[in-house]
């Protein structure tokens, strides 16, 4: 069956079927834009939590780490409830904007949390070193961002991986509408439920291939991360 799936994947790609390419492009566009949009507040929040000395820091970290594990379908439900509730005037239900919003909220704590987990100690030490060498506030921030770059990069990769691979949130808020909100994961879920396992495996293979190509294209720029 796997061999059959790989054959179908190849056929799908060389068939130049616009629907397939549209699904792939939409998946990439939504996941990439949600990750980049969540990157700025996520990284800043992660750095602030790491270096901040404030009351309730432990609770903030506990909540942050909890939200890193929110099931996508729950996040989809939250966005759906918002869309039919307070955000009703914006007509978000079954739209790409709702899919973006769900992935944005899903990825935000992953980016912030992974920054804290991976580099809290390093950030504090960099900040202390800069302070004791006489750096001013802006110089400290610049140094901190420069020295935290590998961790920022890793957190964005984690966020994107989560976004591109999730199905629950985009299925709920996007509705898997052909030509509108259908992405790779919802395509796979739909075909699996219809018993078309070969097509599902094919799209799964394409998804993995895309993830591999993204890492491959980034690897020359971050040798500290990829080795």
């Amino acid at each position: 069956m796997i061999w059959e799936g790989l054959k179908t994947a190849f056929e799908l790609l060389v068939s130049f079927d616009w629907e397939i390419y549209q699904i792939i492009l939409l998946s990439l566009a939504i996941s990439l834009s949600a990750t980049l949009a969540a990157g700025v507040p996520g990284v800043l929040f992660g750095i602030l939590v790491s270096i901040g000395r404030f009351k309730g820091k432990r609770l903030v970290k506990l909540l942050l780490f909890t939200f890193m594990g929110v099931p996508p379908v729950v996040m989809g439900l939250v966005v759906l409830l918002l869309a039919v509730g307070p955000l009703r005037p914006f007509n978000l239900v079954f739209t790409r904007t709702a899919m973006f919003l769900a992935q944005f909220l899903l990825v935000l704590p992953i980016i912030a949390g992974s920054i804290v987990i991976s580099s809290e100690r390093t950030q504090v030490r960099i900040l202390e070193t800069a302070t004791t060498l006489g750096a001013r506030r802006r110089q400290k921030v610049t140094l901190l961002i420069k020295e935290t770059k590998p961790f920022i990069f890793m957190s964005l990769i984690l966020g994107f991986s989560r976004a591109i691979a999730e199905v629950g949130a985009v299925m709920l808020v996007g509705g898997n509408i052909k030509g509108e909100t259908r992405v790779m994961t919802t395509f796979i879920a739909m075909n699996t439920s219809m018993g078309q396992f070969g097509t599902s495996i094919a799209m799964g293979g394409i998804l993995l291939l895309l993830a591999f190509l993204i890492h491959l294209s980034l690897s020359p720029f971050r040798r500290d991360f990829y080795g």
């Binding site: 390093t122 030490r125 960099i126 202390e128 070193t129 302070t131 004791t132 060498l133 006489g134 750096a135 001013r136 110089q139 140094l143 420069k146 020295e147 770059k149 590998p150 500290d224």
Partner: protein, 191 residues
């Protein structure tokens, strides 16, 4: 010069008090005390990294060199000149001094290598030179011999003895031979 008067540092489950004293200029004072007595805490308080009660009077800028220092992701040379750059000083004017210190610490050949890729001892030397290149008024050294081999400790003795006529040095170190070679006075913490 650094003067302590009624200084105390309080942690959630611990309060450390320090006897009043004056650390003289142009001398190396060794801070002694058992593990956990509060030696590093004293250096952090003098370096302005933690809050304290009482008065710490300092003549000039104090820089603290950590026991487990971080080097920045750039060349050894760029690490060393960082404190000069942030002060807006002309780095070229310090080139001779940087090479002299680097030669003294056997680090000259590594000046253009990325500091992150060096051994722990070489990272230690890099951060030590970064802490002293701008000749701070007060130098606080926390276990500077950590990670250093015997030859490097000898080099560090020479460096500290070279610097001690230019600044106030407060040193925490468990290497008795090193302390005897560079120390001018002792300040005991705890008990």
């Amino acid at each position: 010069m650094v003067r302590l008067k009624n200084v105390a540092v309080t942690y959630p489950a611990l309060r450390i008090t320090y006897a009043d004293t004056e650390f003289p200029k142009n001398a190396v004072t060794i801070v002694t005390g058992r593990n956990g007595a509060g030696k590093t805490t004293l250096l952090k308080a003098v370096g302005g990294l933690i809050g304290h009660e009482g008065e710490i009077a300092k003549e000039g800028f104090a820089t603290l060199h950590f026991q487990d220092p971080v080097v920045f992701d750039r060349s050894v040379y760029q690490n060393i000149v960082y404190p000069l750059e942030i002060r807006g000083r002309d780095v070229r004017a310090y080139d001779e001094r940087i090479h002299e210190y680097a030669r003294l610490m056997s680090l000259e050949e590594k000046l253009h290598e990325n500091a992150k890729e060096l051994s722990a001892g070489q990272k230690m030397k890099t951060s030590l030179l970064r802490s002293v290149v701008f000749e701070p008024d007060i130098l606080l050294l926390d276990e500077p011999t950590t990670y250093l081999d015997i030859e490097s400790i000898e080099e560090l003795k020479t460096l500290v003895n070279t610097l001690k006529n230019k600044m106030t040095i407060i040193l925490v170190c468990h290497d008795r031979a090193f302390n005897e070679a560079v120390g001018d006075g002792v300040y005991h913490v705890g008990g």
